[in-house]
Symmetry: C2
Subunit: 415 residues, 2 copies
């Protein structure tokens, strides 16, 4: 058995205990974890300081260093996040539906944990705790494989988590950290079908594509967002400009940020200058088609590749369309199925658009930035699913469960 297989088997066994632990025990564990993260923060900070020093020496750039760094405030926020997960209702054991069949069999479909969840992520130590807390609350064991730059931080966090679990009588192996951060260990994990029920990659597009490409364990695809704002001819144009500015500029690095605006030709000459008044505050670089450049001559010409780019930055693709048919077709070709918005005053057009656009979240007259577990009222999320199977959109606790049928008989046999 490899080291990872041993962790897999241990997690499987731990999960059988956790699956029937009950809400009270799990919440006690989470609150104990939150307290322990605070009580042992010096230990966590010093491990993080070692990671940061090594990363700095290795030439990691400033924005990445910022993602890797912990401080007192961040640790307090992470611990508070764990307490919030403890306060959420437990989906495990919920009855989804019941039926009594003509032969007297009683059926009950009940929520159960998914099992053992693998999480592959990059150098963000907060993910270690956030993901583990959500998995635990939904009764799942987890095997975490973070980026090698954060290994010392993750090791310290997982030690704290495992000690806290043990202190409340739950198996330490409900949470495990992959020790080997090589590419080989990631590949082994992607093929650990015997022990992993699900694999969730969290990180950039490259990581997610690699996991989807190589995994045999069922994957939940998250966080790829080429989102559009479509400004219809009957839009309230100042509202459209505000929504576009918010969707592009409020946090351009996240997956629910807009990457492309589509505007009806009928209102392009009026809308685009209005939008630019706001976008220019952030020096947003525009990549525009010819019709849009005729209105905004300072925009760069867009190439075909711009329609599929997730800039993650103050950059925006701009295209003039003939109407909602073209907008919907364009989104079908270039969207990633994350979040799409129409701005229009025409309820019929809105309905038509919403019926036809195939995405996790389709908005009328609101910013795509709302696609988020907290904003949807689901609480913390493990990611935003852009696939169609199992869960779509923000994945909260319920989406970290599956179901099983319980059937109560009195000796029934099938004819």
């Amino acid at each position: 058995m490899t080291a990872l297989e041993k962790q897999g088997l241990a997690a499987k066994n731990a999960e059988r205990v956790l699956a029937v632990a009950g809400q009270e025990r799990k919440d006690t564990a989470l609150l104990t974890i939150a307290d322990a993260l605070m009580a042992r923060r010096e230990e966590w900070l010093s491990a993080n300081a070692a990671d940061l020093a090594a990363a700095r020496a290795g030439g990691m750039k400033e924005s990445m260093l910022d993602r890797l760094a912990l401080d007192e405030g961040r640790i307090a926020a992470i611990a508070e996040g764990v307490r919030q997960v403890a306060a959420l209702p437990d989906p495990v054991g919920q009855v989804v539906k019941t039926a009594t069949r003509p032969n007297g069999l009683k059926l009950e479909q009940r929520r159960v944990p998914l099992g053992v969840i693998g999480i592959i992520y990059e150098a963000r130590p907060n993910v270690t705790v956030d993901a583990a807390a959500l998995c635990l609350k939904a009764g799942n064991a987890c095997i975490l494989r973070g980026g090698k730059e954060a290994f010392r931080s993750n090791r310290a966090a997982v030690d704290i988590l495992r000690d806290a679990l043990e202190s409340v009588g739950l198996p330490r192996d409900c949470v495990a950290l992959v020790e080997d951060t090589s590419r080989e260990s990631a590949n082994e994990m992607m093929n650990l079908t015997r022990y992993l029920d699900v694999l969730i990659p969290r990180g950039g597009a490259g990581l997610i594509r690699s996991v989807v490409q190589n995994a045999r364990v069922p994957v939940i695809r998250t966080g790829e967002g080429v989102c559009h704002i479509y400004v219809h001819a009957k839009a309230d144009l100042p509202m459209a400009a505000r929504i576009l500015y918010n969707a592009k500029c409020s946090r351009p690095s996240v997956c629910n940020a807009a990457e492309c605006v589509l505007v009806d030709e009928e209102v392009a000459a009026e809308f685009l200058p209005l939008a630019w008044e706001q976008l220019k505050e952030k020096n947003v670089a525009l990549h525009a088609d010819a019709a849009a450049r005729a209105i905004l001559p300072w925009a760069d010409p867009a190439g075909e590749e711009d329609w599929d780019r997730e800039y993650g930055d103050y950059q925006l693709a701009v295209k003039v369309v003939t109407g909602s048919e073209e907008a919907v077709d364009f989104i079908a070709r270039h969207g990633t199925g994350h979040s799409e918005a129409i701005v229009t005053g025409d309820a019929d057009v809105a309905r038509w658009f919403m019926d036809r656009v195939d995405a996790a979240a389709v908005y009328v007259n609101a910013s795509t930035r709302f696609t988020d577990g907290f904003e949807f009222g689901l609480g913390a999320e493990i990611g935003i699913s852009t696939q169609k199977l199992h869960a779509r959109g923000p994945m909260g606790l319920e989406e970290l469960t599956g179901t099983k049928y319980l059937i109560y008989g009195a000796g029934q046999v099938r004819e």
Copy 2:
């Protein structure tokens, strides 16, 4: 573009029409299909006769020839199955949940089709129509790849289906048949992530394992069943014998048939001879551990491999256990997560067992043979999922849909 990519693109476009076609149009299409299958049955039968002649000449064995064969009665039953699908409620458009957020955003989570579904199956021409009908009703286009021995039959059926779709104004490409039945086309299909949203293999364990192993398209794993009947010390033993006989012998080739009986040592000497009284009627071959062979000396000794075998035949593995702990551990190691049953008069033990056994369906005092869409009241099924993501157990129409969020705003932007 390859032939399959062309079919994929055409299916994607057809699906966009089908997704918003509405229940009435889809039901009309299904009823037209049922009528057309009857009206053109000579055409279908003669294609099937050609398949049968070739298969016979190729030395196909009798049980396989029987699966391949159509006749008037079978066609009538298939057409009737399509009418039953038409009569089921349409899951598409159903509102799963709604919420109004403090900022005034109105959320609606709505059922939508999954998209384009690939089905890879063996030489059973009835699957062609059954699967297409279920996909159509749930608003999904489908690309069908049946076994090469049934190609002429499948071609004839798909022609009838496509003509019927066209006659009611729906795109022919809602249903497509893969022309190339080579292994290469199967591999290409498993990697057609651009056009296929889901892949469902239907057939034997070898087919399913190959798809799970090779596919990059998300797969729904169905129909692997190593099911157990656990006879607890407090079982009504005659009831347990009836349940075991039914679970093993009523249709041994199907996935919800039992493959192994576990019996508490306390009642083994009484139960096993009682069970044998019935099992011997079908000359069931027993593969038993030493403790069971001490009671049934004519049983073969079981090897380790017997605990993992899906016999699909009149064969049964037999093991004596010390109690429910051992039974649950054994099922965790050797079950496939399909259907598991306990026979007991003790409700506490039943609850304990049902909480701990991780399977699509867990029974108390009933035969595992009930795991089936019709028996569960879901109507026709596309398969029985043994995975945890998305759907578990019989997959009816609802399980052939996903969801999306529709969000209605009035200009909201995120802080």
